[in-house]
Symmetry: C2
Subunit: 116 residues, 2 copies
DNA sequence: GCCGTACTACGATGCCTATCGTACGAGTCG
DNA sequence: CGACTCGTACGATAGGCATCGTAGTACGGC
């Protein structure tokens, strides 16, 4: 009625200053989640949950996206029936300069070395 | 009798090229272990396990050091009755350039912001 | 108003792990 | 040798978590 309201439901995110390094590292220490983040970083713009083809069920996918959101790594917003995901790259760069870059680079190097 | 033998017992370490990013991140996602690594990075040279004053029992301390060693973050070697610990900084820098620097910097920033 | 799609909620399961306490092994020093 | 220190091993415990399946909710289009 009044608010910008791209959608109605919104999801709890930690504020930038509440993001904990340990939480970020824990989130990224799971292969499935690291893969999601790599894909998200590679894509420009947002991706819906179903744009990912992960070798796990949908419930599990939902779980991983929630962990990423609650740790502050990604931002999720509903757009119609789809849930769009985006890396919180700018905020993370303010909080931990160079960290995401180094992490993504490390993941890319490992992917080359292990072909995964 | 013949070998350089700084000590007798030696401990299993992953080779540099076997170190997995996920393992490193998992190791560092525990507050106690992150603390150990920060202290180790700050000290020049090696530190024995008992140089750390951690709010956990000795068994638990042993456990954390083992996780760090097995993930490839630290190198441990016996020197008499003491077990000396050192960051595998050079190898990690070869494998994941800039990663440890960014991680240590991020941890330091967080420590300032949260006084921990 | 109904249907299909996208995602969630909840419960179950099995594994991993952080922690502790106690008992033990390896070295060093007297 | 004997005592002491440093660290390990092992078992127990409690909580966390990655995974699944099924049932359900929200939204958009017809």
């Amino acid at each position: 009625m009044s608010s910008p309201a791209v959608s109605s439901r919104d999801l709890p995110h930690p504020a930038r200053d509440e993001i904990r390094l340990e939480g970020v590292l824990h989130a990224l220490s799971d292969p499935m989640r690291l893969r999601i983040v790599r894909e998200l970083a590679g894509a420009r713009g947002e991706l819906s949950c179903s744009d990912f083809e992960l070798p796990v069920t949908k419930s599990t996918t939902t779980h991983h996206f929630r962990v990423l959101r609650e740790s502050g790594v990604i931002r999720q917003v509903y757009r119609g029936t789809a849930k769009m995901n985006g890396l919180r790259r700018d905020e993370l760069d303010e909080l931990f300069p160079g960290l995401m870059g180094a992490l993504l680079d490390a993941a890319a190097r490992q992917a080359v070395r292990w072909r995964d």
